[in-house]
């Protein structure tokens, strides 16, 4: 992938990621999150992870975000009114986040392999076939555990939404 495309998609992803956090209207935040995930899936595809990129679009930009929008509209949330801000807490959290970013960037800058280029792949990679073979051989037990987990989540959601919390 040419580096121009990488920077375009990375910039789109980061700008819409910031918009998720700064938007006052939850619906606008959710829609920005969709664009952010689409940019992220483009980055996955630039790393030759086509299957993960498609899953990202289908599961996150499709299912999860529809769920988010559904809940926001169900709760009928409007844009928040401006409340009295706790400026000490605000400045403290911004400082902590900034320190985390500096720390991460320093670690990445000092890592030797971070300055190396990606090695070339042998041939066009048959992504889905390889992942599917791994999924049903070495990762068979985790796959079944995750199936049980999804079932438990479904039952839990039904119970949570049927009973009134007191």
């Amino acid at each position: 992938m040419p580096s121009v495309l990488f920077w375009i998609f990375a910039a789109v992803m980061l700008v819409f990621g910031v918009l998720v956090v700064v938007n006052r209207n939850p619906v606008a935040s959710a829609l920005s999150l969709v664009v952010c995930f689409l940019g992220l899936s483009a980055l996955f595809m630039s790393l030759n992870a086509y299957f993960i990129g498609i899953i990202q679009v289908l599961v996150y930009a499709g299912a999860v975000m529809v769920l988010f929008l559904f809940i926001i509209m169900l709760l009928d949330l409007r844009a928040e009114e401006c409340r009295k801000m706790n400026w000490v807490a605000f400045a403290g959290s911004a400082l902590v986040a900034f320190c985390l970013l500096i720390q991460l960037l320093t670690v990445i800058g000092r890592t030797r392999i971070a300055h190396e280029h990606f090695p070339a792949l042998a041939a066009p990679v048959d992504d889905v076939r390889n992942i599917g073979q791994l999924l049903f051989s070495s990762y068979n037990l985790p796959l079944q555990v995750i199936a049980v987990l999804v079932l438990v989540a479904t039952i839990g959601v039904i119970i949570l939404s049927k009973r009134q919390l007191r």
Binding site: N48, F51, I71, A94, A97, L105, I108, V125, L165
Partner: protein, 106 residues
């Protein structure tokens, strides 16, 4: 050609955006979206490492991509349960603002 570091930097910035969202925002749904951003930043760095570590057969390291697959699955289940809890909370308390939900606060 891109270096591994550029993907890691983008992933670090995305993680920080999500982290700042969790700390700065007071709306519980926005906090939940910021959590998703952080999960996806971790996924991006995992996929970058998987592409960086090419096996002798010329294939990327698929174990990292399997981990991303499982993270996405668990995150989808987590979103469903979390949003159900938020709906139950809204029914009981009529708010999604976390400053109004402070019964456990000492």
């Amino acid at each position: 050609m891109m270096t591994l570091g550029s993907y890691l930097v983008v992933s670090a910035v995305l993680f920080t955006i999500g982290f700042a969202g969790v700390l700065l925002r007071r709306n519980i749904i926005i906090i939940f979206m910021s959590l998703e951003l952080m999960l996806n930043a971790a996924n991006l760095s995992l996929v970058a490492f998987s592409r960086f570590r090419v096996s002798p057969a010329g294939l990327p390291e698929y174990h990292a991509e399997m981990l991303v697959f499982f993270v996405i699955t668990v995150a989808a289940a987590e979103v469903a349960v979390g949003l159900a809890i938020i709906v139950a909370l809204y029914r009981a308390r009529r708010t999604t603002h976390i400053d109004d939900i402070n019964q456990l606060k000492f």
